[in-house]
């Protein structure tokens, strides 16, 4: 397969040329009955942030000559199904068949700059921007057609790429209406949008078309891109984060490994380019064996990790303080507990890949980055190039669940392409490097304390959270991309990234009169960044495990105890739903069902979850039998997309909970393959069941990260119910159960 960069928008319009105006009677319409067009309602609420930055219709949507439309989104497809969701929204507003809507995802200079694909924000920002852009396009097309067909708007029907006059039976295609132009009208409120009660795509379980391509081996992954003359490359990574190259003896390389084209050395960045991919692997190994490096700062002893973290933390920052916790603490019996989570990995099934080609003027890059515009800023800073001389095209990759290594592979490819111009250079990361150099989800500690009043309601709640940064994604700070740190003049990271992610959901959503939450930031020994749901995973594990401990002390049913502290009816509804889902379960002596609740970020989607486990009290073995989730994301765009995300998220988070931790000794990271970093395999997969409460009247919120946080607590609470043992340190292993 040969992929070519898509033409720029300017060129597209020019190529489209002038289309003569004429009244065409569509053959398909003759004799066919006119469709019933859904009613519209006036929307005058807030427009999504993405529109604010890019507010003309043509930035989001283009009319193609062949009767289709092309939607431009700044987001990236990573298996979450955003392409289909965006297609549904656009087809809905323009009353088109789904297959007439093409979706072009992130490319610099072509699609809107929507920052990163993350934070479960693609639906609420990108898809909603497309909704309002498409609705505005519809208005503009109707107004232009009114003039051209000389008939009132009330006489016009807009559907499937044409506008038709009922009186004259004359119709015009969108392209004919626009005469080769695109719609430059600003998207602004008020804007008429389709009445949600009459939606035919949105809210339905529309199947993804890309799965049909994947099963043919035509998934179109970055790893599958091929260009004429393309060469392969690998990078010889240093043995430690701060190791510097002392010597490299590549004299025997060409004699040993066939197909070697070039070794690229820039300070401690060592890359090797070969004709064939397997040759690059052998060349990398050869150079690794023939190089010497300085040692890196030792890591702490693994058993001292959490003590080490406390020792290097800044003074705490109070992120929430309500009522008077200090006063409430006096003279009451408190309950305290400490929860920990180790470093865990993105552990994408496909190691990172990046391609680049420098044509002498522009550096073209293909990447599965989650943020091509921010990556461009980092590369421009690293290479001292003008940003508009760097052209980045997003290409789907394997699911990566946050900021993983895609940007680093693109950076590697960029550095080597500049040394080997006019040829496409493809860099493939190894499993070892993917596991060792991934920016991990940081280790965290949460220490909670609370007391109950005479009515068994929580009187005060105090939380201390220790966290590293939860995002060091690429930005204008060149040190955010890995290879920049290894160049002759290294770029160190100047910023700390997004610290706030660490206390996401650290303040409970429950009604508690006195509450104080402190965050302690540390800069730890490992490279870290955004991993699906950020600090919420640890914080909700702690909160929801602690809620069960408090319910136990209050002598109450865990769900009733939660309901006693909630007023929000949407929160109550998801809890009632999950209670209903699990009501008929038979629970054997060695089994237990545990629950957890969360409102993501305390402002977005609601979820209540249940887990059923069996625990072998002699061996400590845990069998995860089934998991249930009841979810409310507001307006549902794709019912099956949400179900798929929640099912998959529960299983991935169950893997984090039961299996996963980065292992290391003082010298190196040791969890560098799937045996040393095991994840859940089929034999341990639970059944899953998801119920969705659709609320079309509410804002549509994302769901990708939502199933992660409650999973660990639901499992921990189920284990307690099954065997009376409470494990507060993740991962929950048989040994920890026996020692609890």
């Amino acid at each position: 397969m040969t992929a070519l960069p898509l033409q720029s928008r300017r060129k597209f319009i020019k190529n489209m040329g002038y289309i003569s105006v004429g009244f065409s009677l569509l053959g398909a319409c003759i004799g066919a009955e006119d469709p019933t067009i859904a009613s519209r309602v006036t929307y005058d609420g807030k427009l999504p942030g993405s529109i604010g930055r890019t507010n003309t219709v043509n930035a989001w949507l283009e009319i193609l000559e062949d009767g289709r439309i092309r939607v431009l989104s700044g987001k990236v497809e990573l298996g979450q199904g955003i392409r289909t969701a965006i297609q549904q929204v656009a087809a809905e507003e323009l009353d088109m068949d789904l297959n007439k809507v093409q979706v072009h995802l992130a490319e610099t200079g072509l699609t809107p700059n929507e920052g990163y694909t993350g934070a479960s924000a693609s639906i609420q920002y990108s898809a909603m921007s497309v909704r309002f852009a498409a609705a505005t396009a519809r208005q503009e097309l109707l107004e232009l057609a009114r003039k051209k067909l000389n008939t009132p708007i009330a006489d016009l029907l807009l559907f499937n790429g044409v506008v038709k006059s009922k009186l004259s039976n004359k119709s015009l295609t969108f392209a004919e209406i626009l005469e080769g132009e695109q719609i430059k009208r600003e998207v602004s409120i008020p804007v008429p949008i389709k009445n949600k009660a009459e939606h035919r795509y949105v809210g339905k379980a529309i199947p993804r078309t890309d799965i049909g391509e994947m099963v043919r081996g035509q998934g179109g992954y970055i790893q599958d891109l091929r260009f004429p003359g393309m060469v392969h490359a690998r990078v010889v990574r240093p043995p430690g984060y701060e190791s510097k190259l002392i010597t490299l003896d590549g004299n025997g390389l060409k004699a040993e490994v066939p197909g070697v084209i070039k070794t690229v050395i820039k300070g401690s960045f060592v890359g090797v380019i070969t004709e064939r991919e397997h040759q690059a692997i052998k060349a990398e190994q050869y150079l690794k064996n023939h190089s010497e490096w300085t040692t890196s700062t030792p890591f702490p002893e693994p058993k001292n990790l959490f003590t080490h973290i406390k020792g290097i933390s800044d003074d705490p920052e109070t992120i929430r303080n309500e009522g008077n916790v200090e006063l409430a603490i006096k003279d009451v019996k408190t309950i305290k507990a400490r929860y920990t989570k180790p470093y865990i990995k993105h552990a994408s099934l496909g190691p990172a890949c990046g391609l680049a080609m420098f044509d002498g003027e522009v550096l073209h890059i293909w990447s599965h980055s989650q943020g091509i515009y921010p990556l461009r800023e980092a590369l421009a800073a690293m290479l001292s190039m003008e940003a508009d001389k760097i052209h980045i095209i997003a290409v789907p990759g394997a699911g990566c669940f946050g900021h993983s290594t895609a940007d680093d592979a693109a950076t590697d490819a960029a550095l080597m392409a500049l040394e080997h111009p006019n040829i496409h250079v493809r860099v493939q990361w190894s499993r070892h490097d993917e596991h060792a150099w991934d920016p991990y989800g940081p280790a965290m500690i949460a220490e909670l304390e609370a007391s109950l009043d005479e009515n068994n309601r929580i009187n005060y709640w105090k939380a201390e959270v220790w966290t590293d940064s939860h995002s060091q994604r690429p930005n204008k700070d060149a040190g955010t991309v890995l290879a920049a740190r290894h160049l002759e003049t290294p770029f160190e990271m100047n910023s700390r990234g997004y610290l706030g992610g660490g206390h996401r959901n650290a303040d409970p959503y429950y009604n508690i009169p006195n509450m104080k939450v402190n965050a302690h930031y540390y800069k730890g020994p490992f490279r870290v960044s955004s991993l699906r749901s950020l600090g919420s995973f640890t914080n909700i594990f702690a909160i929801e495990s602690f809620m069960d401990a408090l319910a136990e002390k209050a002598g109450q049913d865990p769900l009733d105890f939660r309901l006693n502290h909630l007023e929000d009816e949407r929160a109550v509804a998801v809890i009632q739903k999950v209670k209903e889902l699990t009501a008929s379960q038979n629970i054997a002596d060695d089994q237990g069902v545990g629950y957890a609740f969360m409102r993501y970020k305390n402002t977005d989607a609601y979820i209540a979850m249940a887990a059923k486990v069996a625990v072998n009290k002699v061996m400590g073995n845990i069998e995860l039998i089934k998991m249930w989730a009841a979810v409310d994301v507001g307006e549902v765009i794709n019912m099956d997309g949400i179900t798929n995300q929640v099912e998959g998220g529960m299983i991935q988070a169950a893997s984090w909970t039961l299996k996963e931790q980065v292992t290391f000794n003082t010298k190196e990271i040791t969890s560098t393959d799937w045996l040393k970093y095991p994840i859940l395999r089929f034999s341990q997969i639970p059944e899953v069941e998801v119920a969705i409460i659709n609320r079309p009247e509410e804002d549509a919120k994302g769901v990708g990260e939502v199933p992660m946080p409650p999973t660990a607590a639901a499992i921990a609470n189920a284990i307690f119910k099954a065997c009376g043992k409470r494990v507060n340190d993740l991962p929950i292993t048989p040994e920890k159960i026996l020692n609890a």
Binding site: L78, V215, N644, I651, D673, F682
Partner: protein
């Protein structure tokens, strides 16, 4: 450089490469087949699985020199000449049994291998047959459904 005549998806392919080149790289890098994907190069994840004489085998550590006359089938080779999907591929589409789909090749190939030997497997047999195949997105339960759907339609 040695030459190999390989039997890939029903046709003979002539490949000139080093004898230690793993089959995965022959398929992807020389024959431009994208079905088998690179996941670990260590035979730990199953994403590179192909059928060797009808039996699921990881291709990332299998030297080309060891293939001989064996019949190799990749996901592309399952599609009929008129473009129709194999019932197992069809079942994965029907059950929407993927998120990113990077592991899908291995899942499809392991399923075919299983159903070749056991046309109506139960849950435990399905899980056992797919134990060597990792999925990071958590599509496992849909994959199990797809295997059952495929078993019914074969």
């Amino acid at each position: 450089m040695p030459t190999y005549h390989l039997n890939i998806n029903g046709s003979q392919k002539r490949i000139e490469t080093e004898s230690d080149t793993p089959l995965l790289y022959v398929l992807r890098d020389y024959l431009e087949l994208n079905g088998p994907t690179y996941g670990c190069g260590l035979a730990q994840c199953g994403s590179c699985t192909v059928l060797v004489n009808g039996s699921a085998t990881t291709s990332c550590m299998l030297p080309v020199s060891s293939i001989g006359e064996a019949e190799i089938t990749t996901m592309e080779g399952l599609v009929s000449d008129d473009g129709n999907l194999h019932p197992v591929q069809q079942a994965f589409v029907q059950e929407q049994a993927a998120q990113c789909g990077y592991c899908l090749n291995g899942m499809v190939m392991a399923t075919i291998s299983l159903l070749n030997k056991n046309p109506s497997p139960d849950d435990a047999e399905i899980k056992n047959a797919l134990q060597g195949n990792l999925c990071r997105c958590g599509s496992h339960t849909r994959i199990i459904k797809a295997v059952k759907t495929a078993a019914k339609s074969l």
